[in-house]
């Protein structure tokens, strides 16, 4: 039962439930949608009318079984073509956690969707077809997960039923994957043999794979430790909005509203405001529900400062001895997301935290072949779905940290000035 299951007619206390976001990736036909359907079905997150609908559609399509993949394909074109086009978000609860799944399509041309889904994920779930082993796509997905610094990676070796639940097949895939992933920066990697279609090791441990002594997928998802993945060391508070009520009773009130990007801010802390460099102390941390003693990610709060200094949107509040880098030139890994290739002489808008500037491409340092991880240093541009290292020159400084240290202050997007499309996703090196 989803969380909120009534106990004595009252909902469960919600405080115990933690939010976990994960991204799923897989190749066409490796059973990703079926797995998600299975997770939703077995946690009773699928409603009767949704199931009836899937049953009817399966029958009409002549699938011969209840095609749980149909639960996740929301657009008409997807149902007609039997493919997933865009990132779809799905939700389910267990008593311990609320999960947000970013379900990203596996086709080659949709790498940008995987990057999108991965950008907010605590965990990446990669599917490998037990019969096919580690494909180029699986490698690409693992690379993207590591590039986006998703803290936890789970590799589900699926369709174990089609290889007679053979331990050797699983071990072979595990060792091949592990060997290859040694080149990547992945800290926590877990392998689980499953059959999404039949539910083996998805929610319950499977009796058909007695040789496997690890947890079921759902157990792992419920227990993997995500709270400490946040950066709680480096206080970073990008100012989003200046609150000045100017009412009679709050005539002198000035608050700086934003979401804590990282670190912990406390009342009384000495802080510095960038770019002005002015220092003062936090006079109070306000919310609608009252004052807080401390604020930490990802809380949205409003800071009051002791001194009346000039602060506006786009400014960064941090501690005087622990500041981000004030950068007018940055090196970054960029995933290109537009049909219009990156122009080596191009000019783009760059949005980083609550600050937007202009960026010129100074140099394409290299492009990465996401299959071999080879660096192509002769590259001059980036095409759709390509990833490369760029040097950018900025019209005004941004206050950045390395992405590997801080996902919130190390990330940015590039926006095409003429079309207004989001064309690049960048990670500061």
């Amino acid at each position: 039962m989803a969380t909120g299951a009534a106990t004595n007619g009252r909902p469960r206390p919600v405080r115990t439930s933690e939010l976990v976001r994960f991204a799923t990736a897989g190749s066409v036909d490796d059973g990703k949608s079926t797995l998600i359907g299975r997770l939703l079905f077995d946690t009773k997150s699928i409603f009767e009318d949704q199931l009836e609908h899937v049953e009817e559609t399966s029958k009409r399509r002549g699938d011969g079984y209840v095609n749980l993949a149909l639960l996740t394909d929301g657009l008409r074109a997807e149902r007609e073509q039997g493919i997933t086009i865009d990132v779809a978000y799905r939700y389910f609860h267990t008593p311990r956690r609320k999960f947000i799944i970013a379900d990203t399509p596996g086709h080659e041309q949709y790498t940008r969707n995987m990057v999108t889904g991965a950008s907010t994920a605590d965990l990446a779930l990669i599917l490998v077809d037990a019969r096919k082993g580690v494909l180029e796509q699986s490698r690409r997905h693992a690379f993207i997960a590591s590039l986006l610094r998703i803290p936890h990676l789970v590799v589900c070796v699926n369709k174990m039923d089609l290889v007679d639940f053979d331990e050797e097949v699983f071990e072979r895939i595990r060792s091949e994957f592990t060997g290859w992933a040694a080149k990547l920066d992945i800290h926590d990697m877990t392998f689980i043999p499953i059959s999404a279609l039949h539910g083996d090791n998805v929610v319950e441990r499977s009796e058909r794979m007695a040789w496997y002594d690890g947890p079921s997928l759902l157990y792992h998802l419920e227990h993997v430790h995500v709270a400490s993945d946040r950066n709680l060391q480096d206080a970073r508070f990008p100012v989003q909005w200046v609150t000045r009520p100017m009412s009679d009773e709050l005539h002198d009130y000035r608050g700086y509203a934003g979401e804590v990007a990282s670190g912990v801010l406390r009342k009384g802390d000495e802080i510095v405001v960038l770019p002005s460099g002015r220092t003062t102390r936090i006079a109070g941390i306000d919310t609608y529900d009252g004052e807080l003693d401390e604020a930490y990610p990802p809380l949205s709060v409003t800071l009051r400062l002791e001194d009346d200094i000039d602060v506006s949107r786009g400014d960064m509040i941090c501690r005087p001895q622990n500041r981000p880098v004030e950068a007018k030139d940055i090196d970054a890994m960029v995933c290109w997301m537009s049909e219009r290739p990156l122009s080596p002489t191009g000019r783009y808008r760059i949005k980083h935290t609550s600050r937007t500037a202009l960026a010129k491409v100074d140099q394409v340092i290299y492009r990465i072949d996401v299959n071999s991880l080879h660096r192509e240093e002769q590259a001059e541009a980036l095409q759709l779905n390509e990833i490369g290292k760029l040097r950018l020159r900025l019209s005004s400084p941004l206050f950045v940290d390395e992405y590997r240290r801080n996902r919130m202050t190390g990330s940015f997007i590039l926006i095409d000035e003429s079309t207004n499309d989001t064309v690049g996703a960048g990670m500061v090196l």
Partner: protein, 316 residues
């Protein structure tokens, strides 16, 4: 304070103070989105139907700018087929907040010939709202319109961005959406274009109800069980009202019901219920096996892609 070059990762898992419940995390995300839009887009408006989702949205907007006032008006797209309780509620909330209310009237769109009213017992003004909404957005020059839609509501919605681009004709192009990364939203639009913003994208129906219970958010009374004259159609219970013609075999009867969603009286079904308090409602929602739109919305029953089609036209 001195900083060592690479401080160890803090392990505060025993210390609950840095833990954050999923509702707080969702709240914080929504407030972040609302503030971004208010800061970056010139004229924003909050679409308020008086339903539970827009009630939560309004509550979050109030939190986002506290102790300041709401920096944008509130707009109701009024089909004229409202539950009177909802209109009373709308006016009370807006007054309490000191917000400016804009009412965009579907009746006006009909009277001016912009749209043609459907006829017959199954007619609804649901689809006509898109035209009224787009006209109002254009008339007021809004660049951003907040809505309370959630991705768990419907399959086409599950594919939509939090900040969702609309072209000069108000159309949604599901295949050409801007990628949305981290918490960075791209709100750049040209004249005539706008964005729809859905701060509750990641909330489920149960999240909404739990949040309403935890925050004690005021709702229209029709969300709680009350006795009402209803009739049965296509397996759903509808309120008897001047806006719906009964078919020959349909007989009105009295039943204790509550509404799970709030739309037009003509297309919003009720559920039989004895849940008179928030706690009772949350318990019922937690135990339900049918989606809210499946149980109560005739407008989604037209076809498999009813919502996708309406959204492409500019629907909420």
């Amino acid at each position: 304070m001195t900083i060592s070059p690479a401080p160890p990762i803090l392990r505060r898992d025993e210390d609950l103070s840095y833990e954050i419940s999923h509702l707080r995390a969702l709240e914080s995300e929504a407030i972040h989105v609302i503030r971004e839009v208010a800061a970056e887009l010139e004229r924003a408006v909050l679409l308020f139907s008086g339903g539970k989702d827009s009630a939560v949205l309004l509550h979050l907007a109030r939190k986002a700018f506290h102790p300041g006032a709401l920096p944008f008006p509130v707009m109701h797209v009024d089909t004229g087929h409202n539950f009177p309780e909802v209109i009373e509620y709308r006016d009370r909330m807006v007054e309490d907040l000191g917000a400016r209310l804009i009412v965009a009237s579907v009746q006006d769109s009909i009277d001016s010939g912009r749209v043609v009213e459907e006829n017959g017992p199954r007619s609804s003004r649901n689809r006509l709202q898109s035209v009224t909404l787009l006209d109002a957005i254009e008339e007021h020059g809004f660049r951003a319109a907040f809505g309370g839609a959630r991705r768990d509501e419907e399959r086409a919605r599950a594919k939509e961005r939090i900040m969702s681009f609309r072209d000069d004709f108000g159309q949604w192009d599901p295949k050409g959406q801007r990628p949305e990364l981290w918490n960075l939203y791209n709100g750049f639009v040209k004249p005539g274009e706008h964005v729809r913003v859905f701060p509750l994208s990641n909330w489920t129906e149960l999240d909404v109800w739990q949040y309403i219970a935890e925050e004690e958010i005021d709702l229209p009374p029709i969300y709680f069980a009350h006795e009402r004259q209803v009739f049965k159609r296509d397996g759903m219970l509808y309120a008897v009202s001047e806006f719906v013609e009964l078919l020959p075999d349909e007989e009105p009867f009295d039943e204790f019901v509550r509404f799970r969603t709030v739309g037009d009286m003509s297309c919003t079904g009720a559920v039989a219920s004895k849940a008179t308090t928030l706690q009772d409602v949350v318990a019922e929602i937690a135990a339900t096996r049918i989606t809210e739109r499946g149980e109560t919305r005739a407008d989604d029953r037209i076809s498999e892609a009813a919502m996708e089609d309406r959204k492409k036209e500019g629907y909420f």
